[in-house]
Amino acid sequence: MTSSNLLSITTFIYGAAAVFYLAHWIFKKELLGRLGTWTALIGAAGNIGGLIMRWVESYQMGIGHAPLSNMYESLVFFAGTLVIIYLIIERKTRNSIIGAFATPIAFLAMAYASMSPNISDRIEPLIPALKSNWLIAHVITCFLGYSAFAIAFGISIMYLAKQRDVQGTSNLLSRFPKAQVLDELNHQMIMFGFLFLSIGIISGAVWANSAWGSYWSWDPKETWSLITWFIYATVLHARMMRGWYGKRIAYLSIFGFMAVLFTYFGVNLLPGLHSYGSF
């Protein structure tokens, strides 16, 4: 079995996990929730295994490098970190409804990576600009941040749905964690994501200083990551200084995730230094 096969299988496992979680939410069967958790765990193991195999395969091809060098690999890594962070939250909050909003994102990322005609899953050699140990630090920290923001996005949507049903008449929403808990989780995820986005931007800057000769060159990717950073900084200030909470924070969090998505995908449409067609 090759890493590509394993990762394709992982895509379907994530799909199954998403279905289990959704069924657990809708049909209120504990067993389904537990099935979801185990499936997600197996998926995460396959995801990590696939990345490791890919790493080994690249060495067998004689062009060994960490599997974090193009769009395909970054999407796979993103899905993996997202599921792992989610599983930790599930363990801490003992609520597996959030899974119905987190695992579909991982599934979509994996499906997009393996099916989009624009994304090649071939292992390509690294071009000189990417040959650096900073590659690993930069990509891992950025994607930890992105995954945290993705989960914050899912939680924000749950919060907004929950908010609409104040009397608790809806059967489906009554099983969500309390609005207060969702709000706090959203905030925690944003703080976590913000810290890692900061480290990601910083490691990128230090890397740029040794590759391009300047730590900041206002390249579109850099600028957009800074824009994202500003948006989440605004969220944190609004909450800590202005005491904003709930709905407004949830909307801002969704808005921030849109900026994340643009930084990730949209920037490739703009001209700039990051345009290796990668990430």
Partner: protein, 459 residues
Amino acid sequence: MLLLSIALTSIVGTIIPQNQNPADYFRAYGDFLYRLFNVLDIFDMYHSWWFQFMLVLLTMNILVCSIDRLSATWKIVFAKNPSFNLSRFRNLSQKETFSGNQPPNELKKSYEPFISKRFGYTKVEETEKGLCIFAEKWRWTRLGVYTVHLSVILLLLGGLIGSIFGFKGYVNIPEGEAVNRIRTMPSGKIRPLGFEIKCNSFNVSFYANGAPKEYRSSLTILEKGHPVYKKDIIVNDPLRYKGYSIFQSSYGKMPATATPEKKPAVQKPSGKITLDFVSQQSGKSYRIQTVVGKPVEIPEGLGKFMVVAYKKKAEFVGQNIGEAYEGILTPKGGKPVDVLLPLRFPSFDRMRKGKVVISVVNQTTERSNPGSPAGVRYYTGLQVTKDPGVLVVYTGFIVIIIGCFITFFMSHQRVCVEIIKGKTKSKVIVTGTANKNKMGMQQKVKKLSDKLADLTPGS
């Protein structure tokens, strides 16, 4: 808010490419917009006076707000004897309660060392109903947010130092030659270095698929003609000397006149050009011959393609990619797009991600040269920078990471264990507050209460 307005205006700079040729701008935007954008410095907006002005505003804003709040925080953080307000703890909604057999003083003896081990500072007070143990930790973390703000100011300061005292320049050095001056950008001034950089050799290697693998320049630093330092530089591994950083940036071949050996002159291949068209949909490949200026019809209805020019030294994102054809692809019912076809990189056009991938079938021109064979002499293109602000910026980086961690994940935590004397049993009430993450604090209070209950006989 200021943060968002900086974010919004930054977007403009990502949509309009910066620092391009004025003629290109003129063509793209027309007369009126071109003049308007030019007045507003939109083509180099991140260095324009109004963008810099916003950054100054941001700095002032951070400074003023921080200093304004700091005085209050400072008093709390550096109070000699932290004071505790019992009624505040009594008013807290969340309380953990249990009871024990021993009188308050006995309980105090077993509790106090336990709590002080966990919290550091403890204080015992008598109350009207018994006694009270206060404890607290991480008071200093209230300063975390100020360290983050300080670091942002350090970053901006470092950027300022860099823009005033730093510079960036380029120089091309032929193999075997040395230079002692560079041309700085964007001013174009010549700047002496005070030492010489000699290029001993330059090498470029390629992967089997034609993508570049490594650009390597072997450099020697000469002081007054004597070699003092030698290093091979590659992309991502620059040479640093006396505050200067020397980066691998580009390369090229010396003009034929510079090479004494006779070799077939590289010239515009006047004759036929053989092109491969690979349809991305069907995967089929079509080989078609053409000449410059003659449009060809691509099968599968993929449009028309015409080679418009041959370039001896084509550039792509600032890198010299050698000989290439320039062409125009006109898809059916679509807009014409410029296509660049470097002879050395047959898979280059895949990057465009179009419906058809075009490549040039190997010509009888000069081959790519991994390791310069006799007769070909390269020059290496170096970027030389000096930025005394980097150290300040890096300090800012470290401080911002530590500061964010403290601000987000550590809080000033205070607990109060009240022991009320009863007839036979003592009642213990555990409460606590934190300036952040209140929910996490509730769990901590619960845990502390459980631990204390374990220490209590008869609870």
